[in-house]
């Protein structure tokens, strides 16, 4: 073999070797790419699992089971003296009427314990429901009315899910079957969930109190953090000289953005409640704490918005004889406002979902009343979720999931608003 031939063989070997290893390397590259794709899909899958598991648990809470009962509104029980005054009507024993009606429906039930089990099929709030009906139209007193009454949570769960772990006893299940056969059971829209405050009874518990509390908290947070954040951003971006003090402020803002939220709760507890003596559990304190927490977010977003306004605008305003303050407030600020508002909405969404600092300032108490002002004791939606998640009843789990759905709906709305604002007012200079 000549040298030339040897070289040719060698070259072919190298080429073969390269081609072989290339196949392996390409396969490795492809595998790497696959791992990446799997990572993305894992993230999305987890998101999907979370949403579906919560939504599938929660959607049924928007419906409630109702029992149709024929009730004799005996005048002798409700209003024996025929005064028809509101006070008398308020105090009448409506629960007793419901019990009578149930007894009539199931005359076979005789034992005391069983009777009590029978009464338990209807919610303890059914009496109030009947009372409201009578108060609305006192002329129905003395007649026999058919009313759909709220069922107890055990019956509610059984009727909606029909599961084997029901807490209903066998004899109760027989009655339920009879009610069902008589078409005395139905599911209807659960208005209680949106109109009632918290309650120990799942079927009477609603999110109105928590929503109102959240509303006050967010109102205060917005009212304080928007002006404070925007003016801080204006100062830092437009007026501040480069010196130690400004640097200190900047370092501080960046650090505060990374401080765990629970530490803000400790601050609120020590400063607002113990030092300043503001009331515990009040939306005012919650708003103050969340203001401090969201300020860094708003300041950082507002500064970015101010930065995006081109210098030519500033120069033109100054050239026309505007003072620096006039330039900032009349020309730069309006142009930067959409960006600032977007940042603020995102900050508010963060504040709306925040739980931990509010636990610290005592917004975890059981509060059945709907708050009427920012100094009343209140709770907020995420804290309500936390409280319900702790309750052992299965019906509360359903309501927790439903409350989460409501919270997520609000967050989605806020984020869509932010995106819409950004799209609508985004300007390319």
């Amino acid at each position: 073999m000549s040298k030339l031939q040897k070289a040719a063989i060698k070259r072919r070997d190298i080429r073969e070797a390269v081609e072989q290893s290339l196949r392996a390397r390409k396969r490795r590259s492809w595998r790497f790419r696959l791992v990446g794709l799997v990572a993305v899909l894992t993230g999305l899958l987890l998101l999907a699992i979370m949403f579906t598991s919560i939504a599938s648990k929660g959607y049924s809470a928007f419906e409630r089971t109702e029992v149709l009962l024929d009730i004799d509104l005996e005048e002798a029980v409700i209003d024996p003296e025929k005064t028809r005054s509101e006070e008398v009507l308020m105090r009448a024993d409506y629960t007793g009427l419901i019990k009578t009606s149930l007894r009539k429906l199931f005359p076979q039930v005789k034992k005391r314990k069983q009777k009590r089990a029978l009464y338990r099929l209807v919610s303890t709030g059914a009496g109030d429901q009947l009372r409201d009906r009578v108060l609305q139209d006192p002329s129905i007193i003395g007649s026999r009315v058919s009313v759909w009454l709220i069922a107890d949570d055990d019956l509610d769960q059984y009727y909606k899910h029909g599961d084997s772990q029901s807490r209903l006893k066998d004899y109760q299940l027989q009655w339920v079957a009879q009610l069902n056969a008589d078409q005395r059971l139905r599911t209807a829209f659960n208005s209680t969930f949106f109109t009632a405050g918290d309650s120990r009874e799942p079927e009477l518990a609603g999110i109105r109190g928590a929503l109102t509390g959240s509303f006050f908290v967010i109102l205060i947070t917005l009212g304080l953090s928007l002006p404070l954040g925007v003016s801080a951003a204006i100062y830092l971006e437009e007026f501040a000289p480069r010196n130690r003090w400004t640097d200190l402020i900047e370092v501080n803002i960046n650090n505060l953005a990374a401080v765990p939220s629970i530490v803000f709760g400790l601050l609120g507890l020590a400063v607002f409640i113990n030092f300043m003596g503001l009331p515990r559990s009040a939306p005012l304190v919650g708003g103050l704490v969340l203001t401090l927490m969201t300020l860094p977010t708003i300041i950082i977003a507002s500064r970015a918005a101010l930065k995006s306004v081109p210098p030519s605008i500033r120069e033109a305003a100054l050239g026309m004889g505007a003072s620096k303050t006039q330039m900032v407030f009349q020309h730069v600020l309006p142009l930067a406002m959409p960006g600032m508002l977007t940042g603020t909405i995102i900050g508010m969404a963060q504040a709306l979902g925040e739980t931990a600092p509010l636990l610290m300032i005592g917004m975890v108490a059981f509060i059945a009343d709907v708050p009427t002002g920012p100094l009343d004791s209140a709770t907020v939606l995420p804290v309500q979720i936390y409280l319900w998640a702790d309750s052992p009843e299965r019906a509360f789990m359903e309501r927790t999931s439903a409350a989460i759905l409501v919270l997520l709906a609000f967050l989605v709305l806020m984020n869509l608003l932010a995106i819409w604002l950004r799209r609508k007012f985004e300007r390319r200079w």
Partner: protein, 460 residues
């Protein structure tokens, strides 16, 4: 409600003052605005600022001081027998007085002296309210009169208003510093009080954590149960599990989305992943406690493993899910920042895409990635709701992820939620833990920033 009323009164007052000042200045020059130094609205602003701002500051000051001052005065008027009580008992006594005066439910009905003190308190409160009303009104009137008195046609109101506005801006930007100072002071003071009862070394190196033991002083082990090591261990265990989920998934999806996927997939996959970051933590907590934990438990049972229903694994896994978008968006940014020329160079030498990524891009982006991971760790350590809902309460010193552990944040919440007496080591311990948490996250953030700055490769 009072506050709202004050707020509305102030808004109305400032509008009125603005309107009057503007009219007044125009009146001075018989509506010929050219003869004024500044535009007429600046005279309005001037009057409004002078009448409202001092009064508002006074109101704030009063809100701070009145309670303390009145309680102090009441306690000065108490008979000697009560004044000679120990400070703690005196504080409780005064608390009862205040509650009695406010008509709240009190622990004791109160004797004649307490009734008298309560009446004294009510009386002082009335005086204070009246004095406040007079002072605020006086300050409004004085401010308005002073500013109106100074207005002349050649009065330079615009520069003055602008200076005042600038001071307001400075004030609001200083709130960030005030917040930090507030955090440090509030946490530090209570923590120092705690360390006076429990020595620092016992706290930092103790292996036992059972704060419930220390409610009553006569209980055994009242001072030996505040060792923070199990809490550190639990926190780190859960954070580690979270990182084991979040770093691979987050980093790989960032790499995939930047380097492999088309722009269309990137356009929808990235925002979808970031939805995970917007979900409130209480939702993750619910998911961990009521979905993941039972699944893990039954899965463990089916292979014969004892999984606690509050296992560190459940909390850690879900926390990992929460942190995925955090890691992925930070890595996304740094990978995107690696210049295209480096990729092109690597391809030109014959490297495949994968080789380019792990030989060129990842090393170049490493400082940023490490910084991002450190920030994610700090986030995991400070995360509260997931662990409160899904992790346990008992402090086990263990590395078994199937066991129940507790974390610093869980303990802060359990120590402070519910009834509290403010001087027991139990509640003070929460602040000491808060201090530890604050310092730990601060250090991690500083470290992350340092890593990013120091090892950043400068291109171009």
């Amino acid at each position: 409600m009072n506050l709202f009323v004050y707020f509305i009164v102030f808004v109305l007052l400032s509008i009125g003052a603005y309107w009057y000042g503007r009219r007044y200045s125009l009146g001075l020059v018989s509506r010929d605005r050219r003869r004024l130094h500044s535009l007429p609205q600046y005279y309005g602003y001037y009057v409004a600022l002078w009448s409202v701002v001092p009064a508002f500051l006074m109101l704030l000051l009063w809100l701070f001081l009145d309670q303390d001052l009145i309680v102090h005065l009441v306690s000065a008027g108490l008979p000697e027998s009560i004044k000679s009580l120990s400070p703690d008992e005196l504080g409780l006594y005064l608390n009862d007085v205040v509650n009695l005066a406010k008509g709240n439910i009190t622990s004791s009905e109160g004797d004649a002296i307490m009734q008298q003190a309560a009446a004294h308190y009510r009386h002082l409160l009335q005086i204070s309210h009246m004095a406040l009303g007079i002072a605020v009104t006086g300050s409004v009137v004085a401010g308005a009169a002073f500013s109106l008195h100074r207005i002349r046609p050649d009065f330079r109101s615009r520069p003055r208003v602008e200076r005042m506005v600038k001071w307001l801006l400075v004030l609001s930007s200083s709130i960030a510093i005030l917040t930090t100072v507030g955090i440090v002071l509030s946490v530090l003071f209570e923590a120092i009080r705690f360390f006076k009862i429990i020595p620092l070394t016992d706290f930092l190196f103790g292996l036992q954590w059972s704060p419930q033991m220390a409610i009553r002083e006569d209980q055994v082990g009242a001072s030996g149960a505040f060792g923070v090591v199990p809490l550190f261990a639990g926190t780190l265990l859960i954070a580690l599990i979270a990182m084991l989920v979040a770093v691979p998934v987050g980093l790989m999806s960032a790499i995939y989305l930047v380097e492999f996927s088309g722009s269309r997939m990137r356009a929808w996959a990235k925002p979808l992943l970031e939805i995970l970051a917007g979900i409130p933590t209480v939702v993750y907590g619910f998911f961990a406690a009521l979905v993941v934990a039972p699944v893990l438990r039954s899965a463990g049972e089916s292979v014969g493993l004892q999984v606690s229903s509050e296992s560190a694994l459940a909390a850690g896994l879900v926390m990992g899910i929460m942190i995925i978008p955090f890691v992925s968006s930070l890595s996304d940014d740094v990978i995107n920042a690696v210049p295209q020329a480096m990729r092109d160079g690597s391809y030109a030498l014959g490297a495949t895409r994968a080789e380019t990524i792990y030989r060129v891009i990842v090393p170049a982006a490493l400082p940023g990635i490490v910084g991002g991971v450190l920030l994610a760790v700090s986030r995991a350590i400070g995360e509260t709701m997931i662990v409160v809902m899904a992790a346990g309460l008992t402090a086990n010193l263990t590395v078994n992820p199937l066991d129940s552990v507790t974390t610093i944040t869980v303990q802060i919440v359990t120590l402070l939620v519910g009834d509290q007496e403010f001087d027991s080591p139990k509640t003070l311990a929460a602040f000491a833990l808060g201090l530890v948490l604050f310092i730990a996250t601060l250090l991690l953030n500083v470290l992350a920033l340092h890593v990013v700055r120091k090892y950043r490769e400068e291109y171009e």
